[in-house]
Symmetry: C2
Subunit: 426 residues, 2 copies
């Protein structure tokens, strides 16, 4: 069988959110791309497998970036003086228009793909642009990267500048069908399309209805944005007066969980009804703390979502998020949860390191199935971290080393091996 081997090292994961589990000098078994568990001694049936010796290094699950925008990497880290709607109009939309040019798309997406290939992410849920061919270029590159991804051709037929507004709902739907069929025809192994209405502001009811049909027809997941900014929420209220709340503007068209997986980015201002619907429809929340600070959006009530058993993971949300580092997303999530506790709700205990690590691994990973943990039967997504590149004055236990590696963002230069479904990416 292919993809059978053993990693030896200090193995860290979070089967439960609140308990980081660490086994030092242990063996992690990969059989056909699937994890067979962590052992102190190699069990008899696996005695003959190759052992990749990473003694002393930290081994953690590959991480999931549950929300990001590939075309926005080109301006990531610039234009950070605006709120959401102004930022879209001034910074984002002008950039996304450039992706009408496939040569530009190739050049820009190559940079993005190179970056995420080396990152801590083994799985990503991505936005492209409205352009089907450019988004297919992005899919080709993601397939080559070895990561497992969902990639969406964006839909928007209103409230965007002329060069970035699809001419009609039916044209947007036709382009989406073309995109999906072509993606299927290309026979990717690990790159799948996802239905991607940008947000309720930019999609007419007619378009939403079409997307609901396409979703059902091809049995695809959905990604979009939800309750990110007070001004945006007001706008949705005006644009979709029939919706009981923002999320209902998706749910009315079968684009909000239930049948088929859905991930909604942000969910900062979701009220009780919306939160209930997120829960009952099994929608994933993509918590994007960097983006939510940069656009002055706010802080999502992550503790409340965890307590309610809502599915939740982390997103880098490039380019409103200013770092592609998922290690940083983990520590950002902790930091903003502390400010949330201090200023908004002293009953909402800040996230522990373990909990935030869980969000970036098993939490978001669940969108892809059994992903983000080293329990038996999980996909073998793994990172080997060499934290010795940062000297230390005294020896540290694995828990401290791991926490330090995250705060130092060692995913920038400390990941020495990366595996996805048991395949070595580097």
């Amino acid at each position: 069988m292919d993809n059978c081997f053993i990693l030896k090292g200090n193995i860290c994961h979070t089967p439960q959110a609140d308990s980081l589990t660490i086994k030092e000098n242990a063996y992690l078994i990969c059989e056909g791309g699937v994890c067979r568990g962590i052992f102190d001694v190699i069990p008899e049936p696996y005695k003959n497998l190759e052992v990749i010796d990473c003694t002393g290094k930290l081994i953690i699950p590959g991480m999931t970036d549950l929300h990001t925008h590939a075309p926005q990497y080109a301006f990531c880290g610039t234009g950070m003086d605006y709120e959401l709607m102004e930022w879209l109009n001034r910074i984002t939309f002008p950039e996304e228009m450039l992706y009408a040019d496939e040569e530009y798309a190739l050049r820009a997406y190559e940079i993005f793909a190179g970056k995420v290939k080396r990152s801590a992410a083994s799985r990503i849920v991505l936005f492209g642009t409205i352009h089907p061919n450019s988004t297919l270029i992005l899919m080709d590159l993601m397939e080559q990267s070895g990561l497992v991804t969902y990639v969406g051709k964006v839909n928007m037929d209103r409230n965007a500048p002329p060069g970035l507004t699809e001419e009609s709902a039916s044209r947007s739907a036709a382009d989406t069908r073309f995109f999906i069929e072509e993606a299927i025809r290309r026979g990717y192994q690990r790159t799948r399309p996802v239905i991607t209405p940008r947000f309720a502001v930019s999609c007419t009811d007619e378009l939403m209805k079409e997307l609901g049909k396409i979703r059902k027809e091809f049995d695809l997941p959905v990604q979009s944005h939800l309750s990110e900014n007070p001004g945006e929420i007001d706008l949705v209220r005006q644009l979709v007066p029939e919706a009981h709340f923002y999320g209902d503007a998706y749910d009315r068209f079968g684009l909000f969980g239930g049948e088929g997986n859905t991930v909604m980015a942000h969910c900062i201002y979701s009220g009780p009804e919306e939160t209930e619907r997120i829960k009952s429809n099994g929608v994933w929340v993509a918590h994007c703390p960097s983006s939510n600070m940069n656009l002055s959006s706010g802080i999502a009530p992550v503790r409340r979502y965890l307590e309610k058993g809502i599915r939740i993971g982390l997103g880098t949300d490039i380019g409103a998020g200013t770092s592609e580092s998922l290690f940083r997303a983990v520590t950002d999530a902790i930091q903003v949860s502390k400010l949330y506790w201090r200023y908004i709700d002293q009953k909402a205990k800040p996230l522990s390191f373990s909990e935030s690590f869980y969000l970036a691994t098993k939490g978001g990973g669940s969108f892809f199935g059994k992903v983000g943990s080293f329990e038996e039967g999980y996909s073998f997504d793994a990172l080997v971290l060499d934290d010795s590149i940062e000297p230390a004055a005294h020896s540290m236990g694995s828990k401290d080393r791991l926490e330090r590696a995250f705060y130092q963002e060692l995913d920038r230069n400390g990941i020495v091996m990366k595996f996805v479904d048991g395949r070595q990416i580097f």
Copy 2:
């Protein structure tokens, strides 16, 4: 004359907080370690100086870290699940005890010194520990680094564990005198002592009185902590009932600006009276956003301080702050100011990139005199940044390149030259 040369490149600085000034392909003149200004054409008197050609690169002022703890670098990035007082007792104090051992101090401080030498900081105001000899080792290393620093032997004669509590106010004072006299005897060029009561919680009135005398006798600056955490503030109220407010517990002993420079870290919860005293006594505020998030302390009202004309700069505050990157401190300050605006005071406009850049350069630099700007007569502290190590899909103006470099924390690996007082550090 020594230290005379010209840097050519894209020169960026903030003579005023709200206007980032950029001159592309310009010449920055250093004469005897002092900046003679920025020119499009080299002026006649400087025609014969060597030109260091950094065409296309970004040149910015060396930055000031107005508050950090050298001994805490050893655990930086770990133990982040506590608030201030618990964190001190569980994490910080046990580490600081280790510095009784000078061999350990040397090993740990060498790592710290190596790190900050490569960092964006040209100037740092630092805490050591209570141990005079170990703190002198830190001074030796800082002197060798080429940076200009103030280094403090910490004073604490109460509310710390036995191994870290000085046995009496008089012993603490004697050790402080020894430390200062020895520092003077060693004849450092760029490393100066600073009076360092840890905070009002850990210093008896008797010790404060002694430190006030020593400060005056040697004409030294002062550094300490102020109004960081609600629990800490309550404690000070109990411990120093005579003080009208927390800062008054320093001012009563001549340790709060007025004669001699003083920098106070945090100032998150300073009320109107304290703020007024900070202003009237000319105290510098060291804003430490990373630390203030990590210890769930809160967000300092930086906009209010700027509007009042209070002196203010940025601090990394290692190890409660989890990054030695001043680029990150700049973007952290922007991010928390956005949350402050959103949740605490919608009249407090978020910091712009220019304003936060100013805080880390001219704002904090002013503690050292004319530092942190390329105006005529300022100390020639400069960094040359190569941001081409991060590929870009399209060309960007210098403003966008600079902002991107900060969000990408390119001070980790993108600084190719560093000058302090005109001396090249690397």
